[in-house]
Symmetry: C2
DNA sequence: GTCTATAGTACGATAGAC
DNA sequence: GTCTATCGTACTATAGAC
């Protein structure tokens, strides 16, 4: 149960949380409406009353997840100010979310949204991903980071963290993901920091 | 036309190359057998003569791609010996393949294989990905790299390169991918190298 | 708003002629 | 080995009672 937005009706919430579980467990196309009915306890008729069609479920799920992520990122930006602190805390949040809600992080990082939401712009142009880039830009402006192409710097720093999360989600790590927080943030940051 | 394995019959090759194009353009589940018939020019009957079912097409495609990648990696390993040279040349090969055959690289890096090949082990446990890790292990053994957890080091170095390739495949870069080769390899390597 | 029952369709896979 | 024609099925989505 990751999505808790109370603006949504109970039926919608149940369906969205079931959709998150099932889409990540079996994939969007392997999840039928009858599967959602069984898992959520909401009937076919009520699902189609709440959502126009199956694609609209995926759209609403994506929107709910991105909204939740943005609000958690905003809390971090309000509490931490330096480029490094923000990088570290954003990485910490991603790693802990991947640990506690693997489906949610998988849906954001890994899902081929284009396959079932063909009109959605790529996820890396969404606000939460732009925020990551802004942290790197800030570090360059403040002279803490080496001057280089912004995309290269963002890929090298956050890319390292995201790759490790990916490996964790694929069960390729010996220890639980949060154990790697210190070493992966320190290492990835080293690739772009002036003083190390 | 990326797959050119001449051990395979002409019909199989046609179907596999069409499958690569269509699976990456529209996704596995949005590609019907009639779509493959139209795109490849091979009839339904012949497709089912060459492959047991639709899933077997995806399996054969994966196997052909991994074989091709392994042989190109082996050539690099035979020609270059130092850890850095191998890291650089493997990165160069990935970036140029992503540039010339985006579907092939997308299929390897990005596809949610689990959705249509549920029995396949995760791609990051395949030989080509293990080879990447070995290059990092070699660098540590030879004292060129900082001693640290191997997975962290591999994620931080190759993760940066892969993340940039991902951004390139999603059209988020201003310049063509190969233009970034020097800067991304230098930057990502810096995260784990002793002398920088 | 919630449900059951069902219509309509598109797909994967097969049969069987050449 | 290649083809066309078609079967059976499982799905999305709707209709209509409560």
């Amino acid at each position: 149960m990751y999505i808790v937005n109370n603006q949504l009706s109970s039926a919608k919430l149940k369906v969205l949380n079931s959709a998150l579980d099932l889409f990540m467990e079996k994939g969007y196309f392997n999840t039928s409406i009858p599967d959602l009915v069984k898992h959520s306890g909401v009937s076919t008729g009520s699902i189609y009353h709440a959502f126009k069609d199956k694609e609209a479920i995926a759209e609403a799920l994506m929107q709910a997840l991105l909204e939740q992520i943005e609000s958690e990122q905003t809390a971090i930006f309000n509490q931490y100010n330096s480029s490094w602190d923000r990088f570290y805390e954003l990485s910490r949040w991603m790693i802990e979310t991947a640990h506690k809600h693997p489906q949610a992080m998988q849906f954001i990082l890994n899902a081929r949204h284009k396959e079932f939401l063909p009109n959605l712009p790529p996820i890396c142009s969404s606000q939460p991903f732009l925020n990551l880039r802004d942290v790197i830009q800030q570090g360059m402006d403040e002279g803490e980071l080496i001057e280089m192409d912004l995309m290269v710097a963002a890929a090298s720093s956050f890319g390292g963290v995201m790759r490790l999360i990916q490996l964790g989600l694929d069960n390729m790590l010996e220890q639980p993901l949060p154990n790697y927080l210190e070493s992966i943030t320190k290492t990835s940051w080293r690739s772009i920091a002036k003083t190390i």
